[in-house]
């Protein structure tokens, strides 16, 4: 029982980073980032490359993952999304573009890193015991780092001028322009931050369960599940979705075979959406 709680907490914290990132991008840009899982995967593989191939410290690898994936996000926003949003006002175009970027990243990762499952040696050694549960020190580190990052993002979004502009842009684009906000710059930053969060989540999770180039779609699906549970575009909802999914997964894996767990999660999600299509914290469609 305690072991389920420990595993669920670690998963929930890691998933929260994924959900926060996709929520930031969705709320600011109104783009559903289908490449979010691929950005996660890339973060993991960058950490693998820096740690295992280059033999550099994990901290440096994690910073590299944040910076590189964040820059890829900003580049995608600036070069692809901004242009498509300017010349077309149909939402499915940005969706298709996002799917395209996911294929681009996945194939780039396949040719750069191959298709093998990659992992890194434990970051720190040792095991903590909490009641009847075991918590390896490197998992504890991942948990602490995830929580610190979540707190940092929440502080940034809620208490800084740029974070305030991001929230404003998510609520009313025209009014935000009238405040003198450079909407392009804020969108690029927001996309970069969302991507960086996916990258760091991948860089953290690789130390627990490993990453391969094909994992992206599964992670994106999890991200979608979380924002459907919590409510798309709502930060508190994304955190709640992460907690629900993290614990559902931990409980399911402990009690029933893995593939059945996700089958049950999907069935539960469909039933849930029939009754509350806007998610737990989402606003009902007007």
């Amino acid at each position: 029982m305690e072991q389920i709680l420990v595993n669920g907490t670690i998963l929930a914290a890691n998933y929260a980073l994924i959900a926060l990132g996709i929520t930031l991008i969705f709320s600011i840009m109104n783009v559903l980032n289908f490449a979010h899982g691929q950005m996660f995967m890339l973060g993991g593989l960058i950490v693998y490359y820096v740690c295992v191939v280059l033999h550099l410290p994990y901290a440096l690898a994690l910073i590299a993952a944040v910076v590189i994936v964040g820059l890829i996000g900003m580049l995608f926003e600036d070069v692809f999304f901004q242009r498509v949003m300017r010349i077309s006002n149909r939402e499915e175009n940005t969706m298709l573009l996002a799917v395209g970027t996911s294929l681009l990243l996945e194939n780039a990762a396949l040719s750069l890193f191959g298709e093998k499952q990659r992992a890194i040696p434990p970051i720190v050694s040792g095991v903590y015991r909490i009641g009847n549960a075991f918590l390896p020190a490197s998992r504890a580190l991942v948990l602490v780092l995830s929580l610190v990052l979540i707190a940092a993002v929440l502080v940034f979004v809620n208490y800084t001028k740029t974070g305030r502009a991001m929230r404003a842009l998510a609520q009313d684009r025209t009014a935000t322009l009238l405040m003198g906000v450079d909407a392009k710059r804020i969108s690029t930053l927001g996309f970069g931050l969302g991507a960086a969060l996916a990258g760091v989540a991948g860089g953290l999770l690789i130390s627990i369960s490993g990453v391969n180039a094909g994992i992206g779609t599964a992670i994106s699906t999890k991200a979608f599940i979380m924002i459907m549970i919590g409510g798309a575009g709502v930060i508190s909802g994304s955190l709640l979705g992460a907690v629900v999914l993290g614990f559902a997964e931990a409980i399911g894996y402990a009690l029933i075979p893995g593939s059945v767990t996700y089958l049950l999660i999907f069935v539960a999600l469909i039933v849930f959406l029939l009754f509350r299509p806007q998610g737990i914290m989402g606003k009902p469609a007007a």
Binding site: K161, R164, A168, Q171, L177, L178, M179, G180, D182
Partner: protein, 237 residues
């Protein structure tokens, strides 16, 4: 050249002309009204001035500088703030954050803090609800909030788009008084777009009547109040 001058403004929406050859000019410290029926082009004129709509033709001069090539953000820094139609508060942000958004382009932190105090003193209702979401305010309170938000940018020219829309008559009177006070106390020039023509003509010095995208009539507001054409069409007879 006058303090503000727009010459020959023309805007097309999807190749249909929205406004054509609109020219507006006034001196510093004036309140100028744009009145006219729905769809006459009042909002489009404001959007053209704030660069939210692209000009097909025309030029705009403010304080001796040509501003029609500026981006919306640059215009805020140049001292032009607009309160859009329908108020458009940031509903899920606190009153405080809404007001601070108004000061987004300002770098003088001390000045921003001072202006925040001053605006809260002017609107005690907002101070009472300082930490609440703007979405919970009444229509009249939201109007005060967006005017306060615009003032946080320290504008010298304030554009107001239908501030009385959807408000009870009592509240409309408060808003009218507020516009006059701001104009007097802060020395802000005002372009006021209004469906409520009577209110607009009472508090402005000069007015333009827009008719299907063009200026049909213009003159001193006091004269237009007694003009038979204006009376029949815009003041309910």
């Amino acid at each position: 050249m006058r303090y503000f001058e727009a010459r020959g403004l023309t805007v097309d929406y999807d190749r249909v002309t929205a406004i054509k050859d609109i020219s507006i000019g006034f001196d510093e410290g004036q309140i100028v009204a744009l009145i006219g029926a729905n769809g006459a082009g009042k909002t489009t004129t404001l959007r053209a001035i704030t660069a939210l709509s692209r000009l097909k033709a025309g030029e705009i001069w403010f304080e001796g500088e040509q501003i029609d090539r500026h981006a919306p953000a640059a215009l805020v820094e140049r001292g032009i703030a607009m309160v859009p139609e329908g108020r458009r508060v940031f509903p899920h942000m606190s009153i405080r954050d809404n007001l601070l958004m108004g000061a987004y382009t300002r770098k003088d932190k001390a000045g921003v803090a001072r202006d925040l105090e001053r605006i809260l003193a002017r609107f005690p209702r907002l101070e009472e609800r300082f930490r609440q979401s703007a979405g919970t305010l009444s229509g009249g309170e939201q109007e005060m909030l967006v005017v306060g938000r615009a003032l946080m940018a320290k504008p010298r020219l304030l554009l107001l788009d239908e501030p009385s829309l959807g408000l009870a008559p009592m509240v409309v009177r408060d808003i009218a008084n507020l516009i006059v006070e701001i104009n007097r106390d802060e020395g802000v020039s005002v372009i006021l777009v209004e469906q409520n023509s009577r209110m607009a003509l009472r508090i402005s010095q000069y007015a333009y009547v827009l008719e299907t995208g063009r200026i049909g009539l213009e003159g001193a507001s006091a004269d237009l109040l007694h003009n038979d054409h204006v009376k029949a069409l815009y003041l309910g007879g």
